[in-house]
């Protein structure tokens, strides 16, 4: 490292330490001040929630005497919906005291205290008022946020602009409306910048970041190409066996790495193997991508949708393994049988690799060689350590994002690759996509769209958990064929959260597992259902084996039906 680099890092560390000290001292001072004030103040606490019993944060609460202009006390509801009003000692609390609550997207409410509560407050005792219900209000901001969110989904589905750009356009439009709209009509306000950032799930961002660094190291070792070549060797020209081995490789890899990277690295070598065997590459590629989409949900880190679900619902690595893996294995067996059936003509003839020239065979062998065996060994050790921490970490509140970051750092320290190259390998575009997506989903949560959808689904399924589970699995599977599954899952999480809180028995988190199954296996239903499909199709098209939308639909949709049905059976067996 250069001297300038070392100096820059040292300055950074000093600045960070100074900031931490400053933050700590100001927090301590504020805490002392609050303790002194509390000793001689009358305190009124309360809880504010919406019509679905969900806490409402950010409501401005004001205590006011009708005759007085100035409020007696002011406060704001916190994330758990609770608020505290501190009345100064020199203020007289009269019998007509009213508590006014205001929050964008809700009707303003004012309540009178019950006589007992008022007496306690007047006597200088801490008092707790009755819970307050804020009623949702459909404002122009509701329609604009909904329109922008749908526009973002359409732009992503159409693929006319990059997904990240579509999400950024959505987030920027929401900010523009929030900040400029109120100049025309105050009901155009959606949320401010600081509130929007509270919707960003940093656990997800850092978990993906850490895993990206690990993947960047692993992918350079050549393990995928080696595994695919071994499948070619082991199958010895038996194409039915080759497909099964390749499906297992793609599935296992997808359970620990993201599906796109798996297919990105598997597709070129698979096409080469198919060309060597004079067979249709799609008979190998389609089963591989189906397996990748199905098996990815076995673990927390296997798919971005699982990362989102795990973080939101506090579902751990081992929870996914225990609750989903048997269902995934069942679906995989069905998928293997199905793939053998649909490609029976292509798979029944033995591969004709005998005709391969020594030059091409040598080239194929060269591709199937581990390029960095030392790095692979180290990555295996660190990967095993990460899995142990993912599984055991929940016992000591170690969040998966921290495990991923620690694993990535350990790998970088041990392997000492070019750090700039590794940082460049992080897909920042994806991280920006997630941040913008969280903001867009936050906007429709803020204006109440998610709440209305949740209430609608809640009314439909009532308190029937089995019906709710089937609805979530199949609705998310079918919708994932037309809507990108990541934004869909992000939008559905609060809905599932609401259903989990209201349907008896749903505390087992079965509805979250149903969402995981539906959104990931639904990706097999159409070409645009999953990013891994698009990458596979893109590479195959460039190698002269185009996968059209219709071709994928004809083979993928039955795969969706079979795998989702088998996974649904498992969910019934396991949770009911």
């Amino acid at each position: 490292m250069t001297k300038r680099g070392t100096l820059r890092i040292s300055l950074g560390v000093v600045a960070l330490a100074a900031l931490l000290l400053l933050a700590r001292s100001s927090a301590a001072l504020a805490s002392e001040g609050r303790q002194e004030d509390a000793a001689d103040q009358r305190i009124l606490t309360g809880f504010v929630h919406d019509e679905q019993d969900q806490p409402v944060p950010g409501a401005i609460v004001v205590a006011r005497e009708p005759a007085a202009d100035a409020p007696l006390a002011e406060g704001e509801s916190q994330d758990d919906g609770r608020f505290t009003l501190a009345f100064p000692p020199d203020v007289t609390v009269g019998p007509d005291l009213t508590i006014e609550l205001a929050r964008p997207h809700f009707a303003e409410t004012s309540v009178r205290l019950e006589p007992e509560t008022l007496s306690e407050l007047q006597a200088g005792q801490p008092a707790v008022m009755e819970d307050v219900v804020l009623v949702r209000r459909i404002t122009p901001a509701f329609w604009i946020a909904t329109f922008v969110f749908l526009l973002m989904l359409v732009l992503i589905a159409m693929g006319s602009i990059h997904n990240t750009l579509a999400a950024l356009v959505g987030a920027s439009l929401l900010y523009a409306v929030s900040y400029l709209g109120p100049l025309i009509n105050e009901d155009l306000f959606i949320f401010d910048f600081s509130r929007s950032l509270r919707y960003v799930d940093w656990n997800v961002i850092f978990l993906i970041l850490g895993m990206m660094i690990v993947i960047a190291v692993v992918e350079r070792t050549g393990i995928f190409q080696w595994a695919a070549f071994m499948a070619y060797r082991l199958s010895r020209g038996r194409l039915w066996l080759l497909v099964i081995i390749l499906m297992i490789i793609a599935g296992v890899a997808s359970a620990f790495l993201d599906n796109v990277t798996t297919m990105l690295l598997m597709t070129p070598i698979t096409i080469q193997i198919a060309l060597s065997l004079s067979m249709n590459p799609l008979a190998l590629l389609m089963p591989e991508v189906f397996a990748s989409n199905v098996v990815g949900i076995s673990t927390l880190v296997g798919t971005p949708t699982n990362i989102l679900i795990g973080s939101f619902a506090d579902i751990s690595f081992s929870d996914f393994l225990v609750n989903l893996t048997p269902g995934v294995l069942l679906a995989m067996v069905g998928l293997i049988v199905y793939c053998q059936f649909i490609y029976r003509d292509e798979l029944k003839t033995p591969g004709e690799s005998a005709g391969l020239s020594p030059l091409l065979l040598e080239r194929l062998e060269e591709r199937g060689r581990i390029r960095q065996p030392g790095h692979l060994r180290k990555a295996a050790v660190v990967g095993a350590g990460m899995i142990v921490l993912f599984v055991l970490g929940e016992n000591f509140h170690l969040v998966p994002a921290v495990t991923a970051l620690m694993g990535a750092t350990a790998l970088l320290v041990w392997i000492r690759p070019d750090i700039e190259e590794m940082i460049e390998a992080v897909d920042w575009t994806t991280l920006v996509f997630f941040i913008a997506l969280f903001i867009a989903v936050g906007a429709v949560q803020e204006v109440g769209l998610i709440s209305f959808i949740a209430t609608g689904i809640g009314d439909l399924v009532g308190t029937n958990l089995a019906l709710a589970m089937v609805a979530v699995v199949w609705l998310s599977a079918i919708l994932s064929t037309v809507v990108a599954n990541i934004p869909f899952t992000a939008a559905m999480l609060p809905v599932i959260g609401f259903l989990t809180a209201t349907i008896p028995g749903a505390e087992s988190k079965v509805l979250f597992y149903a969402l995981s199954v539906g959104s990931a296996m639904g990706g097999n239903g159409s070409l645009i259902g999953a990013s891994a499909n698009m990458v596979t199709a893109g590479i195959a098209e460039r190698a002269g084996s185009p996968i059209t939308y219709v071709y994928f639909l004809k083979r993928g949709f039955p795969a969706l039906i079979i795998t989702v049905a088998l996974a649904t059976i498992w969910l019934f067996i396991h949770f009911f």
Binding site: P268, M534, V535, S545
Partner: protein, 148 residues
């Protein structure tokens, strides 16, 4: 320098194109320059921007596909070379290579079906042929079956 430029992608549709180029090379005694164009615009439809990795993998794949074609040409006693180019449009890369080697012929595959999502549509073929011939001086030959 002179020769035959033959852009290929490697699938079954490329076989008649390769065969036509080999036959033409045997008749004329000209070498073949098989061309594989790397183009990453499909990444637009995904979140991923791992262009370095994808470009490396596609290059490896392209080299293998070109080697397959070269092997067939050499087995037929024809001199052949494989060339990989990165570019946004296949058409421009064909024109650029044809100018560079002062090509006599460009042998290209014809889409097998009218609805095939090929790089070129049937409607564009005639226009493309005229443009390439005017731009490079090479004779453009389409291999494969004539659409119904």
């Amino acid at each position: 320098m002179s020769g035959i430029v033959c852009p290929i992608r490697g699938g079954p549709a490329s076989r008649p194109t390769i065969d036509r180029a080999i036959a033409l090379a045997q008749e004329s005694g000209l070498p073949i320059y098989f061309l594989f164009v790397l183009n990453l615009d499909f990444l637009m439809h995904t979140m991923h921007t791992q262009t370095g990795t994808i470009s490396r993998e596609l290059r490896e794949l392209g080299e293998f596909i070109l080697l397959t074609a070269q092997t067939r040409a050499e087995a037929a006693g024809v001199e052949a070379e494989g060339i990989i180019r990165e570019g946004d449009t296949v058409r421009e890369e064909i024109a650029a290579l044809s100018r560079e080697i002062d090509a006599d012929y460009v042998v290209m595959g014809r889409p097998r079906e009218a609805q095939d999502t090929n790089v070129f549509t049937h409607a564009m073929l005639e226009l493309l042929s005229e443009e390439l011939e005017a731009e490079t001086g090479a004779t453009v030959i389409f291999a494969g079956e004539q659409p119904a």
